[in-house]
C-alpha cells in the first residue's frame, strides 16, 4: 500500500513537467506529440518538473511572506516521497495535492508563456532545438526563410505562388495560384490550402499551348488529402515608380 501511494505521489511530482510540455506544444502548428522513447520522455517530464517545482517554491515562499501563512516544502516532500507508514500519507495528502495543483497551474501558464517567448524572439526559426513539429506552418507562412540556412527574410515576402498537383478521380490536375490561406490539422499536418486567382490544367496537357484555364470565382480551397505534391515559391513584389523603357520589360 505504501509503495502504491508513494508511486502516486511520485507521479504527481512529475505531472507538472507533462503539463508544461502539453501547454508549450498546444498551438496549432505543434499539437502533435510524438513519442520519442522512454528515456527522452522521462527526461522531458522530469527536467521541466524540477524547474516548475523550484519556481513554484519561490512563488509560494513569496506568497507565504505576503499573506502570512505557513509553508514548509521540505517537510511536505519528505513525508510525501519518503514516508513509510500510511498514516503519515493521510496527514499530508490534501496539502500535497494542493501543492501539486498549484505547481501544475504554474506549469500550464509557464508553458504558454515560454511558447510566446520563443515565438516572439523567433527562437524557433533560429535554433532547431526550439522548432515546432509541424513543418507546414514554417513552409506556408514563409517563416522558413528565416532559418539560418536559408537566405532572405520572411518580411520581404509579398507573394506566394503555389503549384499543387492533385488527384481528381483518375486524373491529375495542377492548380497554380496565390496562396492566401492555409489550415493546419489537429494531427500535426495540413488540412487545406486556399488559392486566390488560381488557374488549373490537367497534368497530361503539359506540352500544349495555353494549357491553363481560369477558374470562375476568386478563391479555391484544395483539401490536402487530394494533393500529391506541392511547390511553394516566395516572391518579393513592388511597384516601381521610375521610368523603364519597354524593351527592358517582360
Amino acid at each position: 500500500m505504501a509503495f502504491a501511494v508513494s508511486t502516486l505521489f511520485l507521479f504527481l511530482f512529475i505531472l507538472p513537467g507533462i503539463t508544461f510540455k502539453r501547454a508549450y506544444l498546444s498551438s496549432a502548428f505543434s499539437r502533435k506529440l510524438k513519442f520519442s522513447g522512454v528515456l527522452d520522455e522521462v527526461f522531458w517530464a522530469l527536467f521541466p518538473s524540477i524547474i516548475m517545482h523550484i519556481l513554484s517554491y519561490f512563488l509560494l515562499l513569496a506568497a507565504a511572506t505576503a499573506f502570512q501563512f505557513d509553508f514548509n516544502l521540505k517537510q511536505l516532500l519528505s513525508i510525501a516521497l519518503l514516508q513509510q507508514s500510511n498514516e503519515g500519507y493521510g496527514d499530508i495528502f490534501v496539502s500535497y495535492l494542493l501543492y501539486c495543483t498549484f505547481v501544475m497551474t504554474v506549469s500550464f501558464f509557464m508553458g504558454h508563456v515560454c511558447r510566446k517567448i520563443v515565438r516572439t524572439l523567433k527562437l524557433d526559426r533560429k535554433f532547431k532545438l526550439f522548432r515546432f513539429t509541424n513543418d507546414w506552418h514554417y513552409l506556408l507562412s514563409g517563416e522558413f526563410l528565416d532559418f539560418p540556412e536559408v537566405p532572405d527574410h520572411p518580411e520581404e515576402v509579398s507573394f506566394k505562388l503555389v503549384n499543387a498537383l492533385t488527384s481528381v478521380g483518375s486524373q491529375q490536375m495542377i492548380y497554380i495560384g496565390e496562396l492566401i490561406h492555409f489550415t493546419l490539422s489537429d494531427e500535426g499536418g495540413l488540412e487545406n490550402i486556399v488559392l486566390k486567382d488560381a488557374k488549373r490544367r490537367l497534368l497530361q496537357d503539359d506540352l500544349s499551348e495555353n494549357r491553363y484555364y481560369e477558374i470562375p470565382g476568386r478563391y479555391i480551397t484544395i483539401p490536402y488529402k487530394t494533393i500529391i505534391n506541392i511547390n511553394v515559391r516566395y516572391f518579393y513584389l513592388e511597384e516601381v515608380t521610375e521610368d523603364y523603357g519597354d524593351e527592358e520589360l517582360l
Binding site: K116, S141, L145, E156, F159, V240, L249
Partner: protein, 53 residues
Amino acid sequence: MKSKSDNKQHWISNKVKKSRELVYKLIDINKEIDGEGKTFRLGEKVYFVRELG
C-alpha cells in the same frame, strides 16, 4: 508579411494590392522570375518581382 502564427487559421496579408490581372501576369511569367529579379509592365504600372529563398 503578417500572419496570425499562433492561430490555427493562417491568413496572410501582402504589401502590394494584387488585382486578378496582376496575379495572372505573375503566373504567366513565373518561370522567368529568379533571384536577380525581373521588371514587367501591366497596364500603366511597372512592377519589380524577385524570387526569395
